[in-house]
C-alpha cells in the first residue's frame, strides 16, 4: 500500500531553503522523513529553469559505437527513453519511430529493458530501452533521429502542460491527458563506401565478423536419395542482407534452392547463426565430391576483406535399384542390336524441386478456354467473307450472262422477223459461243472462229447429230455472210425452231 502526503509551500523570497527532517508515526511505528532542499528563483530565472526542466523531463539517447560506419553495415545500438520521475506520464503511446530514410532499422515494438531510479543531470529518471539494428543504405554524411509520444496528465485549468506550475501538483486533482512528443536531436554520422581494393570476386555484401561451417548429413547414400548440405555462418553482422551461396546443379548432383534458417533474434538479425540448407540429390554412383563453398565478408573493425575457404566433402554414392526395360515383344530378336538389348533407369530418385504447379488433376476442358472461342472468330470471318464475295461475284457473272443472252435472243428473233439472215446467224453464233463458254471457263470461246468453235464442240463430246446440226448452221451463216449465197429460199420459221432446239441441247 502506498500513501502520499503532499504539502504546498509558497516562497516569500529567493534563495536555497531546506525543509528539515521530521518523523511520522504509522501504526505505532516511527519513521524518519529525510530533509528536502528547495531552490527559489527569481521569476526570470524561473522561466529558464522551466525550459531546462522541460528539456530534461523526457529525452531520447542513441549512442553510436563508432564515429563512422560502412555502407551496408549493420550496427547494433540501443535507443533509451529517459522520463523524469516527476513527469506525470500515464503511458508511452507508441514505439519510437525513425525519422529519415538514410538508414533502415528493425521494427521497435515494446521496450526490452526498463530501469528505475537512474540518476542523470541531478534528476531521477525511469528509463526504457529498445535494441536498434541500423543499416546504412548509402555512403555520405547521413542524419538520423527518432521520435516517441508520451501521454501525460496536465492540470485542467491550464492549456499547456509546460507552463509554470506544471510540476507543482501533478498527481492531484482532476487533470486531463495530453500528448507530449519527445524527439531525439538529429544525429549526423559519416557512412563510408566499402573499399574496392582487394575485394574478393565472390564477395556478396556480408559485413561483420563471421565464422563458417560446412557439413552433410550422411556420407553414404544411394543414387536418388536426397542429402542435406548445411552451410552455416556464425557471428555478428548484417545477416539480413547476406544472400545464400551459389551452388548449382551439375551432372553429379541435382541441387534445390536453399532454405534460410536463422538462429538468434529474428527481428534484429545481427548476432546469431544463419544456416543455408541445400538438398543434393546424387545422380550417379561412385565417390563424388561436393564442390567446396567459400564465404567472403568485410570486417568493419579491421577494415579489410576476409575469405573463409571451405573444404571438399566426399560422398560415397551406392547404385540404387534399377529398372531393366523388358525387350519389346512385337519385335523379333534378330532385329535387335546385340549390344544394346535393353535400357536401364535408376529408380526412385527424389525430385528436389516441385516443378510446375497445377490446381487440379482434372484436365481443363478446351471449351472453357477463352482463346478457344476467340480464335474461331478468324476463320469464321474468313469463311463469311469468301462466301459473300463469291456469291456477289457469281451473281454478277450470271446476271451479265443472262442479259447478254436475252439481248442475243431478241436480236435473233428480230432478225428472223425482218428476214435478216446475217443478223440471225450472227446472233446464233454468239449464243452458241455463250452456251459453250460454261463448259470450259479457262478458254475464251467468244474469240473463236466458226472452225474453232466446231473443233471445240467436238472436243466436248456432245451428241454427234447435235454437232452436225451446229456445223450445218454455222456453215450456212458463214456462206450467207462471206460467200454471199442466196437467202431467198430460207425458211426462218424452221430455222428459228432448229436454233431453239440446238441452244436447248447445248445448255
Amino acid at each position: 500500500m502506498r500513501v502520499e502526503l503532499n504539502f504546498q509551500v509558497q516562497p516569500q523570497r529567493t534563495g536555497n531553503f531546506t525543509v528539515p527532517a521530521w518523523k511520522v508515526m504509522i501504526e505505532g511505528k516511527s519513521y524518519q522523513v529525510p530533509p528536502a532542499t528547495l531552490q527559489v528563483l527569481d521569476p526570470s530565472q524561473q522561466e529558464k529553469q522551466a525550459q531546462l526542466d522541460l528539456r530534461q523531463a523526457a529525452f531520447l539517447e542513441l549512442p553510436f559505437p563508432r564515429s563512422y560506419f560502412f555502407e551496408g553495415e549493420t550496427i547494433m545500438t540501443s535507443l533509451t527513453l529517459f522520463i523524469w520521475d516527476r513527469l506525470p506520464v500515464n503511458r508511452i503511446e507508441n514505439a519510437p519511430t525513425k525519422i529519415g530514410e538514410s538508414f533502415s532499422s528493425n521494427n521497435l515494438g515494446k521496450w526490452t529493458e526498463e530501469k528505475r531510479n537512474v540518476s542523470r543531470n541531478g534528476k531521477i529518471y525511469s528509463t526504457f530501452t529498445w535494441p536498434v539494428a541500423l543499416t546504412a543504405a548509402m555512403a555520405g554524411t547521413k542524419e538520423i533521429s527518432f521520435t516517441v509520444n508520451l501521454r501525460v496528465r496536465v492540470n485542467s485549468r491550464k492549456n499547456s502542460p509546460f507552463s509554470s506550475p506544471f510540476f507543482n501538483d501533478p498527481f492531484f486533482g482532476f487533470g486531463r491527458e495530453e500528448s507530449l512528443t519527445v524527439e531525439l536531436p538529429t544525429k549526423s554520422i559519416e557512412i563510408k563506401p566499402l573499399p574496392s581494393t582487394n575485394r574478393p570476386s565472390d564477395y556478396s555484401g556480408a559485413i561483420g565478423s563471421f565464422r563458417a561451417q560446412y557439413s552433410v548429413d550422411a556420407n553414404q547414400v544411394e543414387v536418388g536419395d536426397p542429402v542435406r548440405l548445411n552451410f552455416s555462418i556464425e557471428g555478428k553482422g548484417n545477416f539480413a542482407a547476406i544472400p545464400a551461396p551459389i551452388l548449382e546443379s551439375n551432372e553429379e548432383f541435382k541441387i534445390g534452392p536453399p532454405a534460410f534458417l536463422f538462429e538468434g533474434n529474428e527481428e534484429i538479425k545481427f548476432e546469431g547463426r544463419q544456416n543455408f540448407e541445400f538438398i543434393l540429390t546424387p545422380q550417379k554412383a561412385g565417390n563424388l565430391k561436393i564442390t567446396p563453398l567459400n564465404f567472403s565478408y568485410f570486417d568493419p573493425i579491421q577494415e579489410k576483406y576476409s575469405t573463409i575457404i571451405g573444404n571438399e566433402i566426399d560422398l560415397f554414392v551406392k547404385p540404387g535399384e534399377k529398372w531393366i526395360e523388358p525387350p519389346n515383344q512385337n519385335e523379333s530378336q534378330d532385329s535387335m542390336p546385340s549390344t544394346i538389348a535393353m535400357s536401364t533407369n535408376d529408380l526412385f530418385q527424389t525430385a528436389s524441386d516441385p516443378g510446375i504447379w497445377h490446381s487440379s488433376l482434372q484436365p481443363k476442358s478446351i471449351e472453357s478456354n477463352y482463346w478457344f472461342w476467340t480464335f474461331q472468330i478468324l476463320p469464321l470471318t474468313g469463311t463469311l467473307a469468301f462466301g459473300f464475295l463469291g456469291w456477289k461475284r457469281r451473281n454478277k457473272f450470271n446476271e451479265d450472262f443472262r442479259i447478254k443472252k436475252a439481248n442475243l435472243s431478241r436480236k435473233l428473233n428480230e432478225s428472223a422477223d425482218h428476214r435478216d439472215p446475217t443478223g440471225f446467224f450472227r446472233a446464233f453464233k454468239d449464243l452458241t459461243r455463250m452456251q459453250i463458254s460454261k463448259k470450259d471457263k479457262s478458254r475464251n470461246t467468244f474469240a473463236f472462229s466458226s472452225d474453232e468453235l466446231i473443233t471445240f464442240i467436238k472436243e466436248q463430246k456432245f451428241d454427234k447429230s447435235l454437232i452436225i446440226e451446229i456445223e450445218e448452221m454455222l456453215r450456212l451463216g458463214d456462206g450467207l455472210e462471206f460467200a454471199e449465197s442466196s437467202s431467198q429460199e430460207l425458211d426462218f420459221k424452221d430455222l428459228r425452231r432448229k436454233v431453239s432446239e440446238i441452244l436447248k441441247k447445248l445448255s
Binding site: 504447379w357 484436365p363 469463311t383
Partner: protein, 271 residues
C-alpha cells in the same frame, strides 16, 4: 531520393522474402525433401499431403509415390505414380518406377485403359483438331466458291470435308468416353493402419454396402477399379449409418464387382 527509395525497397525485399517463403507450398515441399533426407519419411509424407490440399505437381506426386514405395504401401505408390503421369505423361522415370512397383506388387497392368491409339492424344487435342479441320474445310470450300470453280469441285471438297468431320467427331466421342472412364477410375488401397508388414493383404468387394457384409471377391492394393455410374447422376454410392461412404466398383474386365469403403480406394483424377 529515388535511388535511396530503390535501395531501401531492395533491402526490405531481401529481408521479407524468407518470411513470405516460409508459408508457401514451395517451402512445404522443400521441407518434405529435407525430412526425407534426414530419414523422417512419415513427416515428409505429411508435408506432401498437406500441399495436396492447395495444389499438385508431377514431381510432388512422384516423390510421394517414392516414399510410399519405401513404406511398402504399393497401392498408394501406384496411385501417385498414376497421378504424376497424368501431369507428365512422358516422364520415363515415373513410367519405370511404376512398372517396377507393379512388378513388386505382382500386378500386371495397372492402367487397363492405356492400350489404344486414342490414348496417345488427349480429349482436348481431338477437340482442337476437329475445330481446326472444321474451319479449314469451311475456309477452303468458301475459297473455292469465291474462285468460281466448278460445282463438281466444290461438291467433292464438301464430301471430303464431311467425311473427315464425321471421323474426327467419332474420335472425339471415343476420347470423351475414355476420359469419363478415367474419371471413374480408382486404385484399391490398403488401410494405412494395416501397416507395412501386410503388403499381401487384399481389399474385399462386398455384396452390400456394409462392413459386416460378405465379399463377392477381393482385389490387391494397387489394382485399378471403376466406380459404376449412377442412372440418375454421379456415381453409385451409399452413405452408411456411421457416415461411411461406400462406392460400387468393378474391375476393368467386369469379372469382379462389389462395394468398397471410400477410404479403401483413391481417385486418380481427384486430390
Amino acid at each position: 531520393m529515388r535511388i535511396l527509395h530503390f535501395s531501401l525497397t531492395c533491402f526490405w525485399g531481401i529481408i521479407s522474402v524468407p518470411v513470405i517463403w516460409a508459408s508457401s507450398k514451395e517451402q512445404l515441399f522443400y521441407d518434405a525433401v529435407r525430412f526425407e533426407a534426414t530419414g523422417n519419411i512419415d513427416q515428409a509424407i505429411g508435408n506432401y499431403e498437406k500441399i495436396l490440399d492447395q495444389a499438385s505437381s508431377a514431381n510432388l506426386h512422384g516423390n510421394l509415390a517414392n516414399l510410399y514405395y519405401k513404406k511398402s504401401d504399393y497401392g498408394r505408390s501406384i496411385l501417385h505414380y498414376r497421378k504424376a503421369l497424368l501431369l507428365d505423361g512422358n516422364n520415363r522415370e515415373f513410367l519405370s518406377n511404376l512398372s517396377f512397383v507393379c512388378r513388386t506388387a505382382n500386378l500386371e497392368n495397372t492402367d487397363p485403359l492405356k492400350n489404344n491409339f486414342i490414348d496417345g492424344f488427349s480429349n482436348n487435342f481431338w477437340k482442337g483438331f476437329l475445330v481446326l479441320f472444321l474451319w479449314f474445310g469451311l475456309l477452303l470450300i468458301s475459297f473455292l466458291f469465291f474462285l468460281r470453280t466448278t460445282n463438281r469441285s466444290i461438291i467433292f471438297a464438301c464430301l471430303a470435308w464431311a467425311g473427315g468431320l464425321t471421323l474426327l467427331a467419332l474420335l472425339v466421342f471415343d476420347s470423351s468416353r475414355h476420359q469419363n472412364l478415367t474419371e471413374s477410375q480408382v486404385i484399391a488401397l490398403l488401410d494405412k493402419k494395416q501397416g507395412d508388414d501386410n503388403a499381401s493383404a487384399t481389399i474385399p468387394l462386398r455384396r452390400f454396402a456394409a462392413s459386416s457384409s460378405t465379399a463377392n471377391a477381393s482385389v490387391r492394393a494397387g489394382e485399378s477399379l471403376f466406380v459404376d455410374q449412377s442412372q440418375l447422376e454421379g456415381y453409385q454410392s451409399h452413405q452408411g449409418p456411421n457416415s461411411q461412404n461406400w462406392l460400387l466398383v468393378r474391375t476393368a474386365d467386369n469379372l469382379k464387382k462389389g462395394w468398397v469403403r471410400q477410404d479403401e480406394v483413391g481417385w486418380i483424377l481427384k486430390n
